[in-house]
Point group: C2
Chain length 200, copies 2
């Protein structure tokens, strides 16, 4: 059993859903495309961890709605109890930050500002989807509890990232005069036009 399988079981444990729907919900815990979800659902079904029924719809294609079985719930519970967890993050932004020295100051600022925009957009999307849910349900076993704390986690981390971005932008502003100074010391004679271009 691979991790995607457990992610799917985890979602189906809260609500029966179609494979198509799963893709959206998976994004928050273990992103996957349809082409990966459908074969995995078939595999889980073959193992008896979930069941499905065809649901006819009007104006839309029919769908297969999957639900978790008792066996599936047990399998999931067992896995969740195991303490180990592997985690990988691959973010192209980190590589670009690592090579930020290759960029001139304008492009460096742009890199960070684009990141801020990107993360803020994500926060807005997050808020939009969360506002539907009610927040007073704080019982640990309720469906809303897990979603609520995962949502809070994402928002906190994203806000921290934005605060870090502003911290970097500050450093970039400060580094400018220092760079100018070092350059002036290096050449000893200077042209005011060049100085202006480096400051503004």
């Amino acid at each position: 059993m691979n991790t995607l399988g457990y992610a799917i079981l985890s979602l189906l444990n809260q609500n029966s859903r179609s494979g198509y729907d799963l893709a959206d919900y998976l994004d928050s815990i273990w992103p996957a495309k349809h082409s990966q979800i459908y074969p995995t659902l078939a595999k889980l079904h073959k193992k008896g961890l979930l069941a499905f029924e065809y649901v006819e719809q009007i104006g839309k294609p029919n769908k297969k709605v999957f639900s978790i079985t008792e066996k599936g719930r047990k399998e999931l519970a067992k896995w969740v109890s195991e303490v180990q967890f592997s985690s990988v993050t691959r973010d192209e932004f980190l590589i670009k930050v690592h090579s930020i020295g290759l960029l001139d100051i304008e492009k460096a600022k742009k890199l960070i500002e684009e990141r801020i925009a990107h993360v803020e957009k994500s926060i807005d999307l997050q808020r939009a989807s969360a506002s539907i849910e009610e927040e007073d349900e704080l019982d640990r076993n309720s469906t809303g509890f897990a979603k609520h704390i995962l949502h809070e986690r994402k928002i906190r981390l994203e806000k921290e990232e934005i605060s870090w971005c502003h911290w970097v932008l500050d450093l970039l502003k400060k580094s400018k005069p220092k760079r100018l100074l070092m350059w002036l010391i290096g050449i000893k004679q200077f042209d005011l036009g060049v100085v202006e271009r480096m400051l503004f």
Copy 2:
């Protein structure tokens, strides 16, 4: 060209290194195993983006030390200037949190506490590797600058995660009496032994 290629170019742009060494440094920006690094280095070399020389060592196997070429630096600079960045995080912990309702309160706490331990260990490792570097160099183009801000980013996000963990632990403690109360309302008659087990 894939992203790993750019990650390698980015590291080699700061320092010439062997494939074996790259693995350690890659962890912070784009994790990869040796079996993936060596073929990628060969591919980059074939494209003329990097050069290498054999370095003999005493008491250790000889190594191939790679350095970036002018062509490689240009290719990297071009890619870094492009604003788009894709990012994926796949963390089993998120799935387990999503299914936290399946665990009894002790196991739920343990899940979060293990996470705290895990992240704190990572912070310690991070600090240990960073203390070697000097911090007064704040010029944007210096080798240390990028490492310094990436290091700060990681620490900030990890601290935020720990703070979130404590927030969750608090919620778990609060949810306990409420759960008990609801249970009592449900059954109307009760056994003190059961009550004690649910509280402590």
